[in-house]
Amino acid sequence: MKLNYPKEWYEKSALIEGDDEIGAGAPPVDWCAREDEGGIESRIALGQFVELWRRDKGWNAERLASEAGIDTVEVLELEKDPRHEPEPDAVYKLSKVFGVSSRKMMELAGLVQNRNPYLREEAIRFAAQASPLSKLTDVEQQSLEAFVSALTLTN
């Protein structure tokens, strides 16, 4: 497809357009996630959980990715970027490595509807207590264990 219009056409067209917004398209999953204002907090907690869990094991991101069978980039994006929309397959595989509920991991990732209001509170508490230091402190260790319990419980 090639456009063959004179410069004058674009001159008039730009004046008609002005400063109007032009976005169009019905985005699928990420749009739904944005409706949940708790989504970002949950993803921050998810990122910290992934990072602390692997550090507790003494693994680097590459090792965790290898154990889960996913890309290293996916692990890094999960840990570092709460606005990153993770792949459902990656979240599922990580939940198997962590031995926690895949459904709750999906909820934290904003990939399925949040059915458990306490999970978000638990996630925020965890995110507030955990900080990305090189070695887990006692508080982080306890916080990680408590959050693993919350993710493992079936209800």
């Binding site: 410069k7 357009e17 976005g23 749009w31 944005r34 970002i40 929309e85």
Partner: protein, 201 residues
Amino acid sequence: MNESIVYLLKTENSTFVKASLFDQVTDDHLAMWNNEWVPVMKKHAGDLKLKDAPEDSHWNWKKKLAQVEHLLSYQSFALVCEGVLQGLMIVSNVRSAKIQEQFGKPVVYVEFVSTAPWNRAEINKPVKYRGVGRVFILAAIESSREMGYGGRVGLHSLPQAERFYENKCGFKRLGPESTHQNLCYFEMTSSQADLFCQNMK
């Protein structure tokens, strides 16, 4: 891949500058999106409550393109001006018209279209370039004509852009659709496309 020379209004000095419309988004374009758009959009959206952030601020163009790049029924467009990516669009050609007078006839459907964050008054005032939106609609119309669809085009507008499609492009508003997150569906007939191409709307 075809390159069309188009023009955008550079508001800084009120001059019209050459731009290139490519009818295929390449890895280079996606790298520009990732390196130039995303940081600006994240910085802007990060300061806002999610409900107040631009409706497309979380769109991942890399993923969107990956889903359709091998499908013949989809075509992607990139608009580059002064070495910087100014807009992206994906269209498809497998949807049917909904306006009664052309009901059931094929349309080119705009799956997604966005302009760079610095071209949005909400983020950067005054905007850097004007005219990106209508260049993309012109491309969608010409694609529709090339397909033998007579310039018919359909799309679901994001809420903030409804005014643009109805008042600045001449689309007919058909109302919100629950199948598309209640976004409003707009459609253009062949005669409306003709008017658009004459800059009558």
